[in-house]
Symmetry: C2
Subunit: 219 residues, 2 copies
Amino acid sequence: MRIRVAECTVRYEGRLNAFLPMATRLVMVKADGCVAVHADGGAYKPLNWMNAPNTLTEDDDMWTVLNPKGEKLIIEFGEIHFETDLEMGEDPGLQKDGVELELQRLLAERPETFGVGMALIRREYPTPIGPVDLLCRDGDGTTVAIEIKRRGEIDGVEQLSRYLEFLNRDTRLAPVRGIFAAQEIKPQAKLLAADRGITTVEVDYDDLRGSDSEVMKLF
Amino acid sequence: MRIRVAECTVRYEGRLNAFLPMATRLVMVKADGCVAVHADGGAYKPLNWMNAPNTLTEDDDMWTVLNPKGEKLIIEFGEIHFETDLEMGEDPGLQKDGVELELQRLLAERPETFGVGMALIRREYPTPIGPVDLLCRDGDGTTVAIEIKRRGEIDGVEQLSRYLEFLNRDTRLAPVRGIFAAQEIKPQAKLLAADRGITTVEVDYDDLRGSDSEVMKLF
DNA sequence: AGTTCCATGTCGCGG
DNA sequence: CCGCGACGTGGAACT
């Protein structure tokens, strides 16, 4: 990784045009060729950048970064305060844990969370426009499509609506009703769901995890 | 801005849990207190980070970053290869040009782009679920709701559909038809729009800007 | 503060 | 390679 701290101006021409007046900034060039220009503030996002793949041309006090899409990043340097180049090697990468899939797994194990007699048909039930998180049958024998989100927003309701549209064309399943489940559902999403005849359910992740541990303890 | 390149492990506990095994990485601490851990590759996004506001506690070879929401970032250092701390001063900030609002402004000035006799009623016409970009009346006196995006994708069609749903409940406006305008419209979005009876229009930003300059020159 | 929508979103997966 | 959905989305604008 190459790091240069210097006075510079930056011009980006691509999906939009942008310009940075002369100031002191950090320019980072990673091993994969991606370039990022950081100010000393403003979260982790750089002011300007160019992702790999690209080509960096160094020309006197000017760097030109081009990518195959025709985007261009031009950095013109003034005084260079500091520069270094360090070997860092491969990164083993990030291990994550505890997102939507986990919630889905927990709820798939406990369909009765959504009503007495609710039974799972299958997870990730395929439709032409993508898989429904859970497809179930309720106590009355009605098919139920369940969409699960960590945070329930209007998009999720739209997504479920589209699934329902398609599922209801399948005469073997129709009529299909919808349940929208999330840890927290925004008022606007609740409103739209109600308007569409979709039930909303707020689920408690810790409770689910807790009862999961309970179940585990029995074995 | 403080920069340290060192062997380290990183643990994040917050909205999810994540762990980085020991490896050489760059740790950046900006003036506003935000912390970012970068590998030598993978675009501009850090492997792990903590945005301001937060508190950094240095304890021997371990840094603990806490934020008011209870999220936690723990960095444990091994060998330190390099460290520096540089003054960079305020950044004048990025000047952008050519985004959605600009497109909206240009099209609001030229409603006839969407058909002969098209007249603007107002920009950002309010509905209970958000403002419609342009509300117009066409040559036949029919109300037209126009949604403008830089890139036309399925979400935009959904958004316009929702607006139309609400606008058509207003007996003073109904029937309202929809136009979906963007510099570029994805095939899937066109398909969905057609299915919903929404017209799609691809507009040329440079043409619009050009004719804008023309208009300017007349005065 | 809460909510909505934009973004040079980025990223990963599956067709 | 495109389409599509998730993201610790982040960030701005507006109520």
